[in-house]
Amino acid sequence: MRRYSRRVFHHASKFFRQRSLVEEAAQEVFLKAFTELGSFEGRGSMEGWLTRITTNTCLNLLRSSKRRPESTVSDLTEDETTWLDNNLAGAAMERHQASERSSVAADLAGRVLQRLTPEDQLVLTLIDGEDASVKDVAEMTGWSESKVKVQAFRARRRMREAVEKLLRRKGN
């Protein structure tokens, strides 16, 4: 457990921004791993097996946490509105990446993601956020590669629509 706990924590950190939730997920992962150790047949690596358990545990935790209702302009803080304005003014991605207001963006990202399904959050976080490949995500989740692709396609659409709605409301 000491050997793998850091890795489990790092992987769970991709899905939650609160330490308490990451710890809850990691604890659940090790409890599952202990009770299902018999099902690990040693075909793959222990790391891969634990990553898969971690992914599915985080997905279940995301499912059990309530999705927030649709964000409204009044939900946006002043900093978030400023961040959106700044990033809309300059279209080039390179300029955005140099932005200093990362915590504002991270909060806003978290809030937009909370409007999506746990599966959408998972693929977007891993593929678009963490640059994981479709194959990696398929291995982590146990889904087929085509399912991952379709899920990612739909998730991008839903995320874009959510952001568009947010921008439209902000513009009104």
Binding site: F9, E23, S99, V112
Partner: protein
């Protein structure tokens, strides 16, 4: 280029992984199409938000392992208790069914004979019925008695003559 084409292109993969020619065609199209420009901007913002969300990585706290082991023990204890609860419940069901069976047998033993006594009284009443089975049997016995009495009568009638003849 149609609006749908642009949108499906920007949704097909992360923006960062699109080729330069794809990006050029998107830029060209979005110059003329306001809706696609909005969609492209929203996608850019989405991608940026996802990148900015790059997580803060948490380290395991000092007593994490102890906590997990304690939770595991607790879960196992709860599991064992649950197992015993199941056994007790099964035993309870068995015991209550046995009690029910004994009660049913007691009812059969104590109540039914009483009702049968009542039916015996009815039988006695029915014995007065000359057509009852018992009556027929008794009649047979009675017939024997009748035969005996007939012999006695014959003896009584002809006994004196017989003795005189001797």
């Amino acid at each position: 280029m149609s609006k749908n084409h642009i949108i499906s292109l920007i949704e097909s993969a992360p923006l960062a992984s699109l080729s330069e020619s794809d990006l050029n065609s998107i830029r060209t199209h979005t110059n003329d199409c306001v809706e696609c420009r909005r969609a492209f901007e929203a996608t850019q913002i989405s991608m940026l938000l996802l990148k900015k969300r790059t997580p803060e990585t948490f380290e395991p706290p000092p007593f994490f392992h102890t906590r997990v082991l304690a939770a595991l023990r607790e879960r196992q204890t709860v599991g064992d208790q649950w197992g015993w609860t199941k056994v007790w419940r099964a035993a309870g069901t068995l015991a209550s069914s046995m009690v029910a069976t004994v009660a049913a047998l007691a009812v059969l033993t104590l109540v039914i004979p009483a009702s049968q006594t009542g039916s015996k009284t009815q039988d006695m009443t029915s014995s007065l019925n000359p057509y009852s089975a018992e009556e027929v049997l008794l009649d047979q016995g009675g017939a024997v008695n009748d035969q005996v009495s007939e012999d006695q009568i014959l003896n009584a009638l002809f006994g004196a003559e017989d003795e005189a003849a001797r």
